[in-house]
Amino acid sequence: MSLILDHVSYTYSVGSGYEVKALNDVNLKIEDGEFIGIIGHTGSGKSTLVQHLNGLIQATSGTIYYNGADIYDKDYDRKELRTQVGMVFQYPEHQLFETTVFEDVKYGPKNQGLDDKQATLRAFEALQKVKFPEENYDASPFELSGGQKRRAAIAGVIAMKPAVLILDEPTAGLDPKGRDEILGLIREMHDKSGITIILVSHSMEDVANYVDRIIVMEKGAPLFDGAPREVFANYKKLEEIGLAAPQVTYLMHDLYDQGYPVDPQATTVEEAKQEILRVFGNR
């Protein structure tokens, strides 16, 4: 059970004179149950990459295998793929349209062909998962606060029970409080139900605390791929391409360079604290 990208390339506006190569020979393997962060600045190809995973964009060359089957095969049911690989777009609250939150969340399950009763159950379950306040189930989605709208929109995708959930900048435009809540929620979903999560972001610090694996996209291809501490070890290169490693990484490297025997690969405040106390503790 996995997603495999095999030499995937994608070019925008083929034949129009101003072609843009958005993806350039990408090879990736994503296993079941992984929690992955895809990082890159605007235009690095990260959004294009994830839209390939559920078939919304078709590669110009190369192919993608989902659970062993070629998704570009003539007989492959790509509508089914989209429900297996769920996708939460940037500012997902802009897609809400029904008269109540509950009806809106039911939209996806109904499109899957479930009857009203099953769809209701799914919607209920999904809204519980995103900790949406029960008293607002029947509220109009347009009257909610920003954070609640986003939860409702995320529930609309997870109600389809995808095996893989992709979130494109799920915290964009939220304040720190809203951001922590949404990221916490995503982690909880991952830990409890073992769903594969792919988080697209341009913020290293957001992602470092949550994911197990980071893929750094640059010019349409993965530049680094590994555990956060391995990726952040390349902090100088990251800075060159306009992405900063977490502040802590810089500090630990500075200390290490000055001859203190700290582990420079600490990436979170907690890890850094333990390291500094270990080395400087006796002062």
Binding site: L56, F89, P92, H94, N111
Partner: protein, 266 residues
Amino acid sequence: MLKDITLGQYYPVDSVVHRLDPRVKLFGTLMYVICLFVADHVAGFALMTVVLATVIFLSKVPFSYMVRGLKAIVLLLVIAGAFNLFLTPGEAAFTLWKISVSWAGIKSALLMVFRMTYLIIGTSIMTLTTTPNQLTDGLEKSLRLLNYIHVPVHEIAMMMSIALRFIPILIEETDKIMKAQMARGADFEKKGLVNKAKAMVPLLVPLFVSAFRRANDLALAMEARCYHGGEGRTKMKPLHYRRIDAVAYVAILFVFAASIAVAILY
């Protein structure tokens, strides 16, 4: 696919047509439309073709770019053409199954398709070569007289210019919402009119909501920048006629006269 709609989008190159005063272009477009409806003979068609080809050549906008804008209305053309073809009575030219097609029908269908195609291409040359702001200024000045009968000319012109500015943004937004709903299992290729209409609800509601939100934001931003209607406003790019504009006026009137002459002669 939605990005292919070129209607009304400014194409930034430097050409004679781009440099013309927008009032000239507005007047020219008006005359062109009249000529199109006066023309009902091959000679008239030929004249308009030459005029259109010359203007397209002078505008330096690639022809393929203009034609892309036509794709959106092909269906409309086919329907309008078919109506004329089958529903015009007259001497039968040939019979398909039980429906007979008259010579008059063929003629009026051809005329219809020709006029609509030329109309779209011709008018889009104006918007392709004129920035929305120039267009607004041109309209405002040309229609100044209407101010005396209390038509809010400045406000109407401003609304038009803002609408044009937001067309590409809303197109992009439509594309995004479509993808988001497809990811939730929406099917925009359903068969049947009722199903199609139903499938559009999840697309149109968010689009309207977003358009209203943007309108609200924009009104606030305009107010914050001291916008208070046309009163006491100055212009960054005031309109002044130049020699080339006079030449263009003469050329337009010449074409107009020629097309009337052609219509009378044939």
